[in-house]
């Protein structure tokens, strides 16, 4: 089988001493970031990009990927022990995880979330390996019109799945798209919206937007709402769930993995839905739904597995189509571009070592995380006691050094401060900024594909919905339209709100 030969190649790359070390480092940083509330993977990856300049591309991506899925593990620790989600995706884990901790089963909750995540991670790795080749072949059939339609659909997905108002999310996507046009036009070389600032003619660096709007704005928000950290004082207890609990968890883990892996493949950040969907499902099919919210282990096992499966399968749109499904993947595009790799279907052919090495490293990373998380839990709990007044200046400092080092240019640091202020204003106006970053990253590609499609169709704008000649593109646009209509129906809107409130 091709897949086994490919995975063997991947393990050959991932199992070198250097790459194991980088994978471990990434997982450690990721867990750290996940454990600390108020420090997200987006800001961290943006912060650490310059550090990866000196590495080879394979090592750099292995480390960055480790940070991303490591953060998913770490987030659940905080959710269970402190009753605040360390990451956005562990919101659901708080409900039953912390109740289990109150009931003296903190160890079992941590244990099952680590075991479930590990299982989900293994399955997701296989899913990526199995789906990558066929999807890549599909991608090769895509012309500019299909790519444009696919990106439209991805952005619509991101908008529908964003929290809060759909219209406001659309506004954010448009802001992102328009910010991406700043700088020299690729075709004509004309300076666009630069106001004759030479610094702007290369365009706005996406790290400055990411760090300003996510890193700095997040700090400003945290300073306004000083959280009370109620770290659990009870003993954590045995980390292994007992037989009864294990039996109760098997099916939720399987279902959660399936749900999470499927939703994660969707373009437009489907991964965030995984834990919610899994929790709702478990609650619905449980014999006694009233146990949920009072420490039901199914409510930890399912969502935690879904969360990790989704985090990993969201690499699929990036690796096969070159389209990032969420903000973290958008940063991975940046990391690849810095190393001269254009993400897309050609990566698998031209750089099989990179492609399969990264996939193999995910499995190794999951194994490491199991080891990092379970026996070392005490270390992470101590970290939770670092006061925020020391944490945030350190984050600021790392950010400053990081942004400066991207181009060795202090101007970038000033731009980032500006975007920090803009991000803070957006928060105050009730905008969510994740769709903006996604729009910004897709903007340049979208414009290029749009212009190419229109050129090829000789000015005929109906190419995108031409059912006869371009059925794939027409289908993608149709899905996007259906999504928009569905999301605007009052009954669905209500349901969507309750999903996010829960």
């Amino acid at each position: 089988m091709d897949m086994i030969a490919n995975l063997a190649l991947g393990f050959g790359v991932a199992l070198t001493l250097k790459n194991i070390g980088l994978c471990l480092l990434g997982c450690l940083i990721g867990t750290l970031v996940g454990v600390l509330p108020g420090v997200g993977p987006i800001a961290t990856i943006a912060m650490l990009l310059p550090i990866t300049f000196g590495l080879d591309p394979v090592g750099a991506l292995i480390m960055l990927a480790g940070i991303y899925y490591g953060a998913q593990y770490g987030g659940s620790t905080t959710a269970i022990l402190v009753n605040i989600p360390g990451e956005a995706t562990s919101v659901v884990t708080v409900l039953d995880g912390h109740q289990m901790a109150r009931n003296g089963r903190a160890g079992a909750a941590l244990g099952i979330s680590a075991i479930g995540s590990f299982f989900a991670g293994c399955v997701a790795t296989i899913v990526i390996a199995a789906l990558a080749a066929p999807l890549t072949r599909v991608a090769l059939l895509f012309g500019p019109a299909e790519y444009f339609s696919l990106m439209v659909m991805g952005l619509i997905f991101a908008v529908v799945l964003a929290r809060g108002s759909v219209v406001k999310a659309v506004a954010m996507v448009l802001c992102g798209l328009i910010l991406s046009t700043v700088g020299q036009d690729l075709e004509t070389g004309a300076d666009r919206m630069t106001f004759r600032w030479p610094e702007l003619s290369d365009g706005i660096d996406f790290t400055t937007i990411a760090m300003g709007m996510f890193g700095f704005a997040e700090i400003l928000r945290n300073l306004e709402n000083p959280e009370t950290r109620d770290v659990l004082r009870n003993r954590i207890g045995s980390l292994l769930p007992n037989w009864e609990e294990l039996k109760q968890s098997i099916m939720p883990v399987l279902r959660g993995t399936g749900l999470g892996a499927t939703l994660g493949i969707l373009p437009g950040n489907g991964a965030v839905l995984g834990p919610f969907a899994s929790y709702t499902l478990e609650k619905k099919i449980a014999k006694d739904p009233s146990r949920f919210g009072k420490g039901a282990i199914e409510g930890v096992a399912g969502p935690e597995s879904a969360n990790n499966a989704g985090a990993q399968t969201s690499f699929i749109p990036l690796l096969t189509l070159g389209i990032p499904p969420n903000a973290v993947m958008a940063l991975m595009v940046g990391a690849m571009t810095i190393h001269g790799i254009v993400p897309g279907p050609q990566v698998m052919e031209k750089r099989p070592d990179l492609f399969w090495g990264m996939i193999a490293s995910m499995w190794i990373g999951n194994l490491m995380l199991l080891v990092i998380n379970l026996p070392m839990i005490g270390v992470w709990v101590k970290l939770l006691k670092v006061p925020y007044r020391m944490l945030f200046p350190s984050i600021l400092m790392f950010c400053c050094i990081g942004i400066y080092s991207v181009n060795n240019n202090p101007f970038d640091v000033m731009i980032t401060a500006f975007f920090g202020l803009v991000g803070y204003a957006f928060l105050k106006m009730g905008f969510e900024v994740a769709p903006l970053l996604l729009g910004f990253v897709l903007g340049k590609l979208m414009e290029e594909y749009l212009r190419r499609s229109i050129l090829m169709s000789r000015g005929d704008w109906s190419v995108f919905v031409d059912v006869v000649n371009r059925p794939i593109s027409a289908a993608l646009i149709a899905i996007a339209v259906i999504l928009v209509v569905l999301s605007l129906l009052p009954s669905i809107t209500k349901k969507r709100d309750t999903v996010f409130v829960e």
């Binding site: 802001c175 798209l177 919206m193 000033m414």
Partner: protein, 179 residues
């Protein structure tokens, strides 16, 4: 929590039912207008050949349309009030970042009539670091000067060791001493 906000906000409402959305919509429309103006010097395309101005201008119009929808919503659907802005956080946090940017390699301004003038000499990480850290610490009201200074000094030392010594990033540490 969201519910409370909406309920308290619903008590006194005149024309504008959701001040937060009103502000948001106005901002988006204004931003759309600004982009339209900023891209007005670019040539749009004709027929099959889209020019550099087509995409930005199209987006500007879309932005204004979406902003108008938000404004209409703000006039019809009851929503949250505008939240108060804090001054302390943004001033010290973003201020400390600007100080870092201005001092790490120094600042040179091109003042008309005088020419290039060095406003701030290059100070390097060894000075910019502690300044940034102490200034940022002022963003919280908790104050412990001794702790802050020890923290600023050790954090700077850690950053120099990590970024300059271990990772060899070309960041100036003490340019006046040639490092």
């Amino acid at each position: 929590m969201q519910e409370d906000k909406v309920n308290t906000a619903a008590e006194s409402r005149g024309l504008v039912k959701s001040p937060q959305d009103m502000f948001a919509g106005l901002f988006i429309v204004a931003f759309g207008l600004f982009c339209l103006w900023a891209s007005s010097n670019l040539t749009g395309g004709r027929g099959a050949n889209l020019g550099p101005g087509s995409f930005p201008r199209g987006l500007s119009f879309l932005l204004m349309a979406v902003g108008s929808i938000i404004i209409v919503q703000a006039l019809t659907v009851v929503g949250p009030r505008l939240e108060a802005w804090s001054i302390r956080g943004p001033v010290f946090v973003l201020g400390s970042v600007l100080v870092f940017a201005a001092t790490i390699r120094g600042t040179t301004l091109n003042i008309p009539g005088i020419g290039r003038t060095d406003l701030i000499p290059p100070l390097g990480l060894i000075v910019a670091g502690p300044m940034t850290l102490v200034l940022a610490s002022l963003a919280t009201t908790e104050r412990n000067w001794f702790q802050t200074i020890v923290f600023a000094a050790s954090m700077t030392a850690f950053c120099i060791l990590l970024f300059k010594v271990a990772l060899r990033l070309p960041i100036p540490v003490a340019p006046w001493a040639g490092w």
